[in-house]
C-alpha cells in the first residue's frame, strides 16, 4: 500500500474525534498545491502528498488552539510543532500529528527558473522517483527532482517527522549537518557588498507581510509591532531601510525560535532570499547557546532564560 493510502487510512480512523485534519490538495493547477481542511471522509479523496506539498501546515495550529485537530507534517514542519508546544502556543492533547517520512519538496522558484519560459497554467505534472514531467500548452519538459528541490531539503537533517502520533512511510537515515554553498558564499562577502545587496533586494519588497503570515512562529497576528501606529516602529515609507527594518523585527523576534522551515522565503512574491538572515541568526544561536529550535521537547527559547555565568559570552563585556 502506498504512503498516501496509509495516510488516508490513518486520518479516516481518527477523523471522528477531530474538528478537522489539515493536509494538502491540488491548487489552481497540477503544479501547485494548496492546504486542504479535511472535515469529512469525502474530502479525503482530494488529499495529496509528495514533493509538491510544500506548505508548512503547522502555521495554522495556533489559530485552532482549544479545538481538537489533526495536522499532516513533514520532518521540517514537525520542528515547528515542537517549538509551538515548547512555547505553550498549542496543547499536545489537542493536536493529532500525522508525521511523514519526506523525500524533499520542490521550490517553485527553481522550477520557474528551470523552464524555458514562465509556464503559466500547467496542464499536467507527473511526479517520478527522480524527475518531474511538466506539460504546458502541449509541450512537456522533464526536470530532475534533485535540481529543483528547495534549499532546505538539500541540507535537511530531519526528513522524518520527529514528533508524531502516527508516522507514515519508511524512515530515512539522518544525514549529517551540512551548510549551503549560497549561504557560505554570501557570508564571506564584505560589509559594503552585503549592504549593497540588501539595498537592492529590499527595494523590491512590497511589504505584503506574506513572510510574516506564512511563518509558523509569528503568532502575534493583529498585534504585530510592524503594523502598530503607537509605537510606530516602522513608517509607511516604502524605502529599503524601512523594509529591511521589518526583516530585522522578524529576525530578532525569531531569534532562538526559528525552525528554518523556509516558509518566509517561499511565500515572498518578489523572491527575496530571506533565509540568508534566518540561517545566519540560527547559526549564532547554535554557536552561543548550543541549541536549535524545534529539535527537542521541553526546551525554553534561549532568550527567555539566562545563566548567571555564560560560557560562551564574554562575561566582562567590552
Amino acid at each position: 500500500m502506498s504512503q498516501l493510502d496509509d495516510l488516508k487510512n490513518a486520518i479516516k480512523s481518527r477523523l471522528g474525534e477531530l474538528e478537522c485534519v489539515i493536509g494538502w490538495e491540488q491548487g489552481y493547477d497540477p503544479l501547485h498545491a494548496t492546504p486542504l481542511f479535511i472535515r469529512t471522509e469525502a474530502d479525503l479523496d482530494r488529499l495529496i502528498i509528495g514533493p509538491l506539498a510544500v506548505h508548512n501546515l503547522a502555521t495554522y495550529l495556533p489559530g485552532f488552539k482549544g479545538k481538537k485537530i489533526g495536522v499532516v507534517v513533514k520532518g521540517c514542519d514537525s520542528k515547528s510543532v515542537i517549538q509551538l508546544l515548547n512555547e505553550n502556543l498549542i496543547n499536545r492533547d489537542d493536536v493529532v500529528v500525522f508525521g511523514l517520512c519526506c523525500d524533499g519538496v520542490v521550490s517553485q522558484r527553481k522550477i520557474r527558473a528551470a523552464l524555458p519560459a514562465d509556464p503559466g497554467f500547467v496542464e499536467s505534472v507527473e511526479v517520478g522517483a527522480q524527475d518531474l514531467k511538466i506539460s504546458v500548452a502541449g509541450q512537456s519538459a522533464t526536470l530532475k527532482l534533485s535540481d529543483v528541490l528547495a534549499d532546505k531539503c538539500l541540507i535537511c537533517a530531519t526528513p522524518d517527522a520527529i514528533i508524531s502520533d502516527v508516522l507514515i512511510g519508511a524512515a530515512h537515515t539522518p544525514a549529517p549537518a551540512a551548510s549551503l554553498a549560497c549561504q557560505d558564499e554570501f557570508e564571506a562577502k564584505s560589509d559594503a557588498e552585503k549592504l549593497a545587496f540588501w539595498q537592492e533586494t529590499m527595494s523590491r519588497c512590497i511589504r505584503c507581510y506574506a513572510c510574516r503570515n506564512a511563518c509558523p512562529m509569528c503568532v502575534c497576528r493583529d498585534h504585530c509591532i510592524a503594523t502598530s501606529r503607537d509605537p510606530l516602529w516602522i513608517s509607511q515609507d516604502n524605502s529599503p531601510a524601512e523594509n529591511m527594518m521589518f526583516q530585522m523585527v522578524h529576525v530578532s523576534h525569531l531569534a532562538g525560535r526559528c525552525t528554518e522551515c523556509g516558509e518566509c522565503e517561499r511565500a515572498c512574491p518578489v523572491d527575496i532570499p530571506l533565509m540568508l538572515l534566518r540561517r545566519f541568526m540560527n547559526k549564532q544561536v547554535k554557536d552561543v547557546f548550543e541549541l536549535q529550535a524545534g529539535t527537542a521537547l521541553e526546551q525554553t527559547p534561549p532568550l527567555l532564560t539566562f545563566k548567571v555565568e555564560e560560557e560562551r559570552i564574554n562575561e566582562r563585556g567590552w
Binding site: 557570508e187 540588501w198 539595498q199 524605502s239 530578532s252 538572515l277 539566562f306 555564560e310 566582562r316
Partner: protein
C-alpha cells in the same frame, strides 16, 4: 578628541539608570574630559533595551550605538542585565549579515562608581567610530538624487523624461 577639531558623529548611548548613568554622572562630576559625540538616553535597566532600539538607531543614521548597564550580578532588578546580555550578544553577532559594521555597536558594563572606566569606554568607543567614519545610509538615494528629482518634478510636463 575635542569637538572643534573634527566633524562630530552621532553616537547614541543607552545607559541604565542605576549604574552606567550614575557612572557617567560620576565622570562628569569628577571633571574627566570626554568626547562630546555621545547622546545619552537613560533607560530604567539594560533589560529594558529592545535590541531593535539599536537597529532602529543605526537605520535612522546613528554612526554608533553604545549600550551600558550594571555589571552582571549587580543589576538593581536582580536579573535584567542577564537577559540583556543574551539579547545584545545575539544582536552583535547578527549585524554582520545585514552589511552594518558590527563595530558600530558595543555593549559593556559600567558601575556608578566607575567614573574613570566610563571615561575610558566613551573615549575608546568614540575613537573607534571616528576611525570607521560616518555610517553608510541604508537608503541608497543620495541628496543629489533627491535634488534631481525635485528639479524634474518642478518642470512638470516640460521635463525631458516625458518626451
Amino acid at each position: 578628541m575635542p569637538a572643534q577639531d573634527v566633524r562630530e558623529l552621532r553616537i547614541v548611548g543607552f545607559l541604565c539608570n542605576w549604574c552606567s548613568y550614575g557612572g557617567a554622572d560620576t565622570a562628569g562630576v569628577s571633571r574627566f574630559t570626554q568626547p562630546t559625540d555621545l547622546r545619552v538616553i537613560r533607560v530604567p535597566c539594560s533589560g529594558r533595551i529592545d535590541p531593535l532600539f539599536i537597529v532602529r538607531s543605526l537605520m535612522n543614521g546613528a554612526d554608533g550605538v553604545l549600550v551600558s548597564g550594571c555589571h552582571p550580578r549587580d543589576c538593581h532588578y536582580a536579573e535584567g542585565n542577564f537577559y540583556a546580555r543574551r539579547r545584545l550578544e545575539m544582536l552583535k553577532r547578527f549585524l554582520p549579515i545585514t552589511g552594518i559594521d558590527a563595530r558600530r555597536f558595543e555593549y559593556t558594563w559600567v558601575s556608578a562608581s566607575e567614573g574613570q572606566r566610563w571615561q575610558h569606554v566613551v573615549t575608546e568607543f568614540t575613537r573607534r567610530i571616528h576611525e570607521l567614519g560616518p555610517a553608510p545610509t541604508f537608503n541608497p538615494a543620495s541628496e543629489a538624487d533627491w535634488n534631481t528629482l525635485a528639479v524634474q518634478a518642478g518642470q512638470g510636463q516640460t521635463c525631458p523624461c516625458h518626451g
